[in-house]
C-alpha cells in the first residue's frame, strides 16, 4: 500500500522530477560557462596550493585540516576524467549519484519524521 501511494504521489510530481533530470543533463553548463569566461573557482574555496599562490604561504592549520581525509569524487570529477568532454560526462554522473543520494536520504528522513501524519 505504502509503495503504491508513493508511486501515485510520484506521478503527481512527474513534471518536477523530469525538471530535475533535465537540470542534471544540462549541469555541464556550470563547468563550460566559467571556462569560456575565464572565471576560476568560488572565492575562498581554493586548495592549499592555490592559497600559497595568493597569500605567499600555506597556513599550517589549514594544510593539516585540509589533508585529514579524501572524499570519493573530489570536485564532481572522476580521476583521469578532469578535463574537457570527459569532465562534462563525469559532472553529469556526479549529478546523478549526488541527486540519487540526496533523494534517498530525504525519503528516509521523510518516512521517519513525516510518516505518521495522515494523507490529507
Amino acid at each position: 500500500m505504502a509503495n503504491l501511494k508513493f508511486k501515485i504521489q510520484n506521478s503527481k510530481f512527474r513534471k518536477l522530477w523530469i525538471g530535475i533530470a533535465i537540470l542534471i543533463i544540462l549541469s555541464p553548463v556550470g563547468l563550460i560557462l566559467p571556462e569560456l569566461l575565464k572565471a576560476g573557482g568560488a572565492w575562498g574555496e581554493w586548495g592549499a596550493d592555490e592559497v600559497e599562490k595568493i597569500a605567499g604561504y600555506v597556513p599550517r592549520g589549514l594544510k593539516k585540516l585540509s589533508e585529514l581525509w579524501k572524499v570519493p569524487i573530489p570536485d564532481y570529477a572522476f580521476s583521469g576524467w578532469e578535463q574537457g568532454l570527459k569532465s562534462y560526462i563525469g559532472y553529469i554522473f556526479s549529478g546523478i549519484i549526488g541527486a540519487a543520494l540526496v533523494i534517498g536520504v530525504s525519503i528516509l528522513i521523510g518516512k521517519i519524521f513525516a510518516g505518521k501524519n495522515g494523507n490529507s
Partner: protein, 227 residues
C-alpha cells in the same frame, strides 16, 4: 560559499556545529508536525533541486564563480523548517562525497546557507507577500516580489556570515610566528570580496531562479503554493 576544511579554526567550526545540531533537532520536530506523508516526495524533490542548482556555477567573467541555492524557493514550497532539512541534506552529501565544502565545516555551511539563508529569505517573503492564500492580481504580484527580494536577501545574508566567519580567523588563531593558522584573509578582504559578487551577481541569479521556478509551479502545480 561552501567553506572547505582548513579555513575555519576549531573555535569557529566547533561553535557552528554546536549551533546547527539543535537547529536540526528543532527542524525535525517541525517536520514531524507539519509535513504530511504525501509531501515526502516534495522534500526529496526540494533537496535534489538544491543539490543540482548548486552545480550551475555562474561565472563572474575573469573572476570567480558562484551559484544559486534555492533556499527561499524551497521554504515557500515546503515551509521553512522542512527547507532547513532539505538544504542540509544537499550540503552534507556535497561535503562527504564531492568535497564541496569541508566536513569540519558542515556545521558552518549548514548554518549559513541551510538555516540563516532559508529563514531570512522566507521571513522577508512572508512580510512582503502578506496574507496567505492562492494568489491572483495584487496578491500574486506581492508573492512574486516577496520571493525575489527574500531570495536576494537570504543568499546575501548567508554570504555575509561566510565572509565574517572566514575573516575572523586571523584574529582567533595565529602561530608562534604571528602568521594566521587557518584562513589568512582579514575581514577587510573577505567582506568586500564575497559581498560584492553576491550583491551584484549571485544574489540576482538566486532571485531570478526563485521567481522563474515559482511562476512555473504556480502554473503547473498551483496547489503547492500555500501563499
Amino acid at each position: 560559499m561552501h567553506i572547505p576544511d582548513g579555513y575555519l579554526g576549531p573555535i569557529t567550526y566547533g561553535s557552528l556545529w554546536a549551533a546547527v545540531i539543535p537547529i536540526w533537532i528543532y527542524a525535525s520536530k517541525k517536520v514531524k508536525e507539519l509535513l504530511k506523508a504525501s509531501q515526502v516526495p516534495l522534500l526529496a524533490l526540494s533537496a535534489a533541486f538544491s543539490f543540482v542548482i548548486m552545480m550551475f556555477n555562474v561565472p563572474l567573467p575573469g573572476g570567480t564563480t558562484g551559484h544559486a541555492t534555492g533556499a527561499t524557493l524551497i521554504a515557500i514550497l515546503i515551509g521553512p523548517w522542512p527547507a532547513v532539512i532539505a538544504l542540509s541534506i544537499a550540503l552534507i552529501v556535497q561535503a562527504l562525497i564531492f568535497g564541496d565544502g569541508g566536513i569540519t565545516a558542515i556545521g558552518a555551511n549548514c548554518f549559513n546557507m541551510g538555516f540563516a539563508g532559508v529563514l531570512a529569505g522566507y521571513g522577508i517573503y512572508r512580510l512582503v507577500a502578506g496574507v496567505r492564500g492562492q494568489g491572483s492580481g495584487v496578491r500574486r504580484t506581492r508573492q512574486l516580489i516577496g520571493a525575489g527580494i527574500g531570495a536576494y536577501a537570504g543568499i546575501n545574508l548567508a554570504a555575509f556570515l561566510t565572509a565574517v566567519e572566514l575573516g575572523i580567523q586571523p584574529l582567533l588563531h595565529t602561530g608562534a610566528d604571528g602568521r594566521p593558522l587557518y584562513s589568512p584573509f582579514p575581514l577587510s578582504i573577505t567582506i568586500p570580496a564575497i559581498m560584492l559578487e553576491h550583491l551584484f551577481l549571485f544574489g540576482i541569479v538566486e532571485a531570478v531562479v526563485t521567481v522563474s521556478v515559482l511562476l512555473y509551479i504556480k502554473k503547473s502545480h498551483p496547489e503547492l503554493i500555500r501563499g
